[in-house]
Symmetry: C2
Subunit: 313 residues, 2 copies
């Protein structure tokens, strides 16, 4: 493919729409699709555009389902213009919430937080919820849902500024900066004197080990992400957890939000209600310019984003 | 305590019974209670008798609930005679099945197999079930339930004789001798060409790693035991599994059968029905003599038992 293709306007065929990209979501899980191995979603192909969640404007329509001026949300390619047969596109209403919110708190990241806690964490009022990647797009929603449910919420993040943000803006009860903490297991014990009932894991690795050391009987570990391991080139090793799982009747479950697709509608409705009631807030980092997409993606792994990372085209 | 105490007859008080020990169950999980640490059950105390599942005869009764000549099953002490207030004792019927069966296939080991598969494994017809510790008391029941449910069943054990037994006596489809197999992950792949849907783990460690390498999307790992790790003095390490859990939406859940106490009655009823219909068979290793209890327990860790290990007093 010539690099010029990404800017090219095509003509929509019968039943198709021509889309102009407005907002592009860049997400850690895309890293997995850059490996040529089996996963819940097929790997990216060389010399084909990357795809991710995108909000686009319909600028020409030969489809009965969409009209010019509609905004849609879908898994689309990193192109300025593209045609689509409309399959998998959802219309979004820019009057209810800013368009970019549909890539974050009302999009897959918000839905991931909501359904991970509901389907796997089964969080109950009064429990202690520990969240890693706490200042990220998923983590901030997880923590806020924990507070809405009446739980003690402790977040783990990598700078003092992020810790300040999760406590002040997102109302977490406690925060732990893992980069300046020597003994994470002890720090979790101190922040969670009643132990950890639900650990929502976005990072894996040694922070998971620290959570496991403090997990309560019948605790639940929601394995949502393992960003600390994604760029490892050797097979990562660590302490074995099976004895703890057995002794304490602990559940660990990995998931991708697509596992619960039939509940997306309910999730978005609940999240939108909380947003309108001001029970939920969000942060986004918006980078401008189509050519900035790759760098914005790379910056995720250095933690340069606050909240959801989005590129405005 | 003087060592003579274990042979001493006491007099039952009002509401109590005097019990004579007939059959003593020795089980790998007792090893955990010999460590002074938190678990689902309190550790044994120094200078106090060990306790385990025991079938005893009521030889004197001052209780309205039991009469002389009744047989009971309960968590009792390693003593020849002991009194009990009857709490936690279940009467057993020696005419329906041999008394020792109530310590095995109709006792906690059979119930563990049944409820682990039902509540965590959620095994479905046509799936592939992999079982480690396959020739043990729990493993043989797990495998047979797999066949009753119409699954492909593959067992892992440590001698060629055990492999022969699980295939010939317990109708497993395939067996893998982990002691003579160099690449367990490859051996599991060969025995399970459609991958592993449910792995019932009695051993933990490297065999769990081999199962994880072959787990299917939405696979379930029932963490029932980790006998390969119980005698480790250093903290065992191994490959991290969180990336696999996420990529394949896999569940791992530890349990102890006591988590599901309200379903014991149903479990025993189903197991007894299968036993009477000849769909279920069992093996036990019966050692004779009260003084042999400790050695029988130690022998478990060298795999000297076939099926349930029981001491007849």
């Amino acid at each position: 493919m010539g690099s010029g293709d990404v800017y090219k306007r095509q003509t929509p065929k019968d039943g198709e729409v021509l889309l102009k990209t407005k907002y592009v979501s860049v997400d850690p899980y895309l890293r997995g699709r850059m490996r040529d191995e089996k996963s819940y979603i097929e790997p990216f192909q060389l010399n084909e555009p990357v795809e991710s969640g995108i909000i686009a404007e319909v600028i020409e329509s030969n489809s009965d389902d969409f009209k010019k001026g509609d905004y849609v949300n879908g898994m689309l390619q990193w192109k300025q213009f593209q045609t689509s047969n409309g399959k998998g596109l959802q219309k979004v209403d820019g009057s209810k919430a800013p368009l970019s919110a549909y890539l974050g708190v009302l999009g897959l990241t918000g839905i991931t937080a909501f359904l991970g806690l509901k389907k796997i964490g089964k969080l109950e009022k009064g429990e202690t919820l520990l969240v890693s990647g706490a200042s990220g797009a998923v983590g901030t929603v997880v923590g806020q849902i924990g507070k809405i449910k009446g739980c003690k919420v402790v977040g783990i993040a990598g700078t003092d500024e992020k810790i300040k943000t999760i406590k002040e803006k997102f109302h977490f009860d406690e925060g732990i900066n893992y980069k300046t903490t020597e003994d994470m297991s002890k720090a979790v014990a101190t922040a969670c004197p009643n132990g950890v009932d639900v650990y929502f894991d976005n990072v894996g690795g040694e922070i998971l080990d620290a959570a496991m050391a403090n997990i309560n009987r019948k605790g639940r570990i929601v394995n949502c992400g393992a960003i600390s391991l994604y760029n490892e080139t050797k097979r990562p090793t660590g302490p074995r957890h099976e004895t703890t799982l057995i002794k304490k009747s602990v559940l660990m479950q990995g998931f991708t939000v697509r596992d619960f697709q039939e509940e997306f509608g309910e999730a978005v409705q609940q999240l939108a209600t909380w947003l309108q009631e001001d029970k939920l807030t969000y942060t986004e980092t918006i980078v401008e310019g189509f050519d900035e997409i790759p760098q914005a993606f790379i910056d995720l792994f250095d933690g340069k984003n606050k909240g959801k990372m989005i590129v405005k085209v």
